[in-house]
Amino acid sequence: MSNLKDIQAPKLYHFNVSGPSRGALFAARVIGVPVEIEVINLFKKEQLNESFLKINPQHCLPTLDDDGFIIWESRAIACYLADKYGKDDQFYPKDLKKRALVNQRLFFDSSSLYVKIRAICLPILYFGVKEISQPLRDDLNTTLGFLETFLSDSEWVAGDSPTIADTSTYASLSSILAVGWDISSFPNIQRWVKQCSELPGAAENDEGAKAFGDAIKNNLK
């Protein structure tokens, strides 16, 4: 029989200001898999340290080390942890159509929602931009309209129970909410944000999102 103490918890290279990094950790929290956290401070450019480049030459966060198996891309990490460590398939359903929907939403978050938020915030954080242009604002609101549509059709982002699509999407969205984004015209998103805040790990996520929001607000005019 294996001794639980002998099993090393997967290590997550993490920085709580980063939305994707919080997304992977939030997924781990709802799945209930213990992870050992090693902080890589992006503000101090620690991702470019020789030791981290050896682990992930693409030097992005989060990165997971599960007993020597290295993987990055937050949503791929969430899928991996859910499949490997989930007590059941609640957070990443095995049913063909349900999983297809979760996957679609994960790709929506990674290729659209998160990308629009990144397009607004990165130039403010790193390139001296001091305001949010109207086209970028409109672009994100259009995407939030899609999320609103998903959430008017179902209780959660990909169906009637929470999945890793929710933790991933919430990690992205909470970053821009912490900047003070107005979501008063999206009632279903508001409802869902409240639901998410009751999931395990949400408060921890919000703490990082607040740090992100403060950094952005600090650089805005």
Binding site: P57, Q58, F69, I71, W72, E73, S74, R75, A76, I77, C79, Y80, D83, K84, L96, K97, R99, A100, L101, N103, Q104, L106, F107, F108, S110, S111, S112, Y114, V115, F146, T149
Partner: protein, 235 residues
């Protein structure tokens, strides 16, 4: 005990795929269908005529993205999600090789699919869309250096294994391959700078399905972009 013969009843209607010849994402799904021998009922969405924003289309896919799959009463967008779905349902014995169930290999494939979705394809999209929709005259230096950086990421992946996600050919190669084909109309892969990526891409180009969809589609995209760059520069 003898096993009862399995009888598979398939819906007679082929799944419908809304596509555009110049869309790398649609082409990944078409390549996959070709590989697993699945017939698709193709419908073209005229992007320049804004058909992807029409009420009929956005009813199917509020996002207005291409491709969209309609399989009976099930509607699914996003090429990566569509590939995984089609493989699970129609892939038969090809399913395991193209999207391995081994947790590590699957995670490696997913990693690349998400890299394609959130980083690589975006660097193509931020050039293509403003060119066609907003009168952009040419890609900026930043656009080009971002594509260079993305190529260098591929080079890292391909220095570790034969194919993009692992030592086997998977759907990750289809996604990144089609995006790479699409990129060629913006910035050609330099064989000296990215030898492994160039070799991998040349190998893909030898496949008939890759020629038929990814290369043919990329040529259509390149032609469209060039046309708009010329037109936008004159205005």
């Amino acid at each position: 005990m003898r096993e009862l013969p399995t009888i598979k009843v398939y819906c007679k209607m082929a799944p419908i795929l809304y596509k555009l010849d110049g869309s790398p994402a649609a082409n990944t799904v078409r390549m996959l269908a070709d590989i697993i021998g699945l017939e698709l009922d193709l419908k073209t969405v005229d992007f320049v005529k804004l058909e992807h924003k029409s009420p009929e289309y956005t009813k199917l896919n509020p996002l207005g993205t291409i491709p969209v799959l309609v399989d009976g009463d099930f509607v699914l967008s996003d090429s990566h999600a569509i590939m995984i779905y089609l493989l699970s349902k129609y892939g038969g014995d090809k399913s395991e090789a193209l999207y391995p169930s081994d947790p590590h290999m699957r995670a490696a494939v997913n990693q690349i699919l998400f890299f394609d979705a959130s980083v690589y394809f975006i660097r193509l999209k931020v050039v293509a869309l403003p060119t066609i929709m907003e009168g952009m005259k040419s890609p900026t230096e930043k656009h080009l250096s971002d594509i260079e950086e993305a190529y260098s990421f591929l080079e890292v992946y391909l220095s570790k294994h034969q194919y993009i996600a692992c030592d086997e050919f998977t759907i990750a190669d289809l996604s990144v391959g089609a995006t790479t084909a699409g990129m060629q109309g913006i910035l050609k892969l330099d064989a000296n700078k990215y030898p492994r990526t160039f070799e991998w891409f040349s190998k893909l180009e030898q496949e008939p399905y890759f020629q038929k969809f990814a290369v043919y589609g990329a040529a259509a995209l390149a032609k469209t972009l060039q046309l708009f760059w010329n037109k936008n520069s004159q205005e």
